[in-house]
């Protein structure tokens, strides 16, 4: 190897070491800049993908009409989630009235987001969404979608990479771990994806269960709320099978959410967020309605 090559190699190694030692705040600034630069292309690719999917399924309608329909659907889903939450608050309020004990429960504030990009990294199950710092989204904010009359967990915000962009780590990723339990039971475990989960909708693993846990096939798995990161009672999936080990048991769980068909998702904003975005500002008395049961109590 020539002397010039050795010099270049030494400089290269030095630069690599220097870059890997960047502080997280510096990395965040770099990524914010990159997101600003790539944003038009990410949105364009999202539009192309949507166009291709729609072209294959139904006749194209005018673009403006399509945008309006999407907006209405997002609003409808958001309202559905809020109604679900309202019902839960009412039920809780009634139960607590009966027990003459009341524990205030903050209503969920959610922001509707559009999925811009799916699985951009090879080894991580992630999404890029179009809401970020200025929309009140924070790291570890839970991400949900409506599933029938309930809310199902999609994952959590892994990184906020700009004013209007964030990365969501999906529930199917091994690193998204949720404290979970069976419905109407206190049997708890940790639910997560599996490493190298490469199928379209990979199964989840509910680990650290008691060997005596009643985990019959088809039983619903919900978030327990332990730890405070994820709200309780979010639908996660259904049990497929149970494997009993030497000291504990684990269940294979089929996820509720179809992760390959996600177009719009909802980010749960922190309860103490003082940056409720305009989309969530009290409109038509929605927030008031959510808070009313608390006042009644």
């Amino acid at each position: 190897m020539s002397r010039l090559n050795i010099v270049f190699l030494a400089v290269f190694v030095g630069l690599v070491v220097w870059i890997t030692l960047f502080q997280p705040s510096v990395v965040r600034q770099i990524q914010n800049g990159a997101m600003v630069a790539f944003r038009p292309f990410i949105e364009a690719s999202s539009a192309v993908r949507t166009g291709v999917e729609e072209a294959g399924s139904e006749p194209l309608s005018p673009a403006q009409l399509r945008a309006q329909v999407e907006e209405l659907e997002r609003d409808r889903n958001r309202l559905k989630l809020e109604v679900i939450q309202l019902d839960e608050v009412r039920r809780e309020n009634n139960a607590l009235r009966r027990a003459l004990q009341y524990q205030q429960r903050a209503p969920l504030a959610v922001v509707a987001t559009r999925v811009l990009s799916r699985k951009p990294r090879t080894w991580y199950n992630t999404l890029v969404i179009d809401k970020g710092l200025l929309d009140g989204v924070e790291v570890d904010s839970p991400v949900i979608v409506p599933s029938g009359e309930e809310a199902a967990l999609v994952g959590k915000v892994s990184e906020v990479v700009g004013d209007h962009s964030a990365i969501v780590l999906l529930l199917t990723d091994e690193m998204c771990q949720v404290s979970a339990k069976f419905e109407n039971s206190q049997d708890q475990g940790i639910l997560s994806g599996q490493r190298g989960a490469l199928r379209q909708t990979p199964d989840l693993q509910l680990r650290y269960l008691s060997k005596e846990a009643d985990a019959s096939a088809g039983r619903r798995v919900i978030s327990s709320g332990a730890g405070g990161l994820f709200p309780p009672d979010l639908l996660l999936g259904k049990v497929i099978s149970l494997e009993i080990g030497a000291i504990d048991a684990s269940a294979t769980v089929e996820p509720t959410v179809d992760f390959d068909d996600l177009k719009d998702v909802f980010v749960v904003l922190p309860a103490d967020s003082d940056r409720i975005p305009e989309a969530l500002a009290p409109e038509d008395g929605e927030m008031e309605a959510l808070e009313k049961p608390d006042e009644d109590s």
Partner: protein, 197 residues
């Protein structure tokens, strides 16, 4: 010099095109890594110091766009842990694989693209498997489900299939900019220096 400037423009173009390349769910969630493929093609066509500069540039932009600082769930572990793949890791990967692929430059110079195409697929495979091994190292245990190998193979195959077009593009660029890729008596084919073949 004009050749290198053209290559420098090729990388941002590949990044833009990468945004439009979907995940192929039918192929075990693999996708065409166009940026990596473009870099490997450039690594074959350029000298070692230039390859390192391109590794630095490409890896930096790749991590700026795609780096995900994975934190362990606070709910489970009660705090944050260090990142699995640090920012800048892609630069290291590209530098390493780029150095490997430099070994087939003589073949490319002779206008023989079979081995360079194979090496581009192999280096894609190596870059991905190294990432996966580092992730396993951080998380503990080594899990190698059967689908993993298919995903690696399919991703590598996509890179190898696209690479001849990129190599052709580079040879045409070399012709246009009168850059002399080959240096020793191989005038009968692909001189890339503007001479008639």
């Amino acid at each position: 010099m004009r050749f290198f400037v053209a290559l420098l423009l090729l990388i941002p173009v590949s990044f833009i095109l990468q945004e439009f390349i979907p995940v192929f769910d039918w192929a075990y969630g693999s996708r065409l890594l166009l940026v990596h493929t473009a870099f490997f093609a450039i690594a074959i066509a350029t000298p070692f110091p230039v390859m390192l500069l391109f590794a630095l540039f490409t890896g930096f932009v790749w991590d700026a766009r795609y780096h995900i600082p994975i934190h362990t769930s606070e709910e489970v572990y009660g705090g944050l842990v260090s990142q699995e793949l640090p920012f800048g890791f892609t630069i290291f990967l590209l530098g390493l694989t780029g150095a490997l692929i430099q070994g087939v430059r003589p073949f490319f110079r002779r206008g023989r693209w079979e081995l360079p195409v194979f090496m581009i697929g192999l280096c894609t495979f190596l870059a991905l498997i190294l990432e996966y091994l580092v992730i396993n190292f951080h998380r503990g245990g080594l899990e190698t489900p059967g689908d993993l190998w298919w995903k690696l193979l399919m991703t590598s195959l996509f890179s190898a299939l696209v690479s001849p077009f990129l190599l052709l593009l580079l040879s045409r660029l070399a012709d246009q900019t009168r850059y002399r890729i080959q240096t020793e008596g191989l005038k009968r084919r692909h001189t890339y220096d503007g001479d008639a073949i």
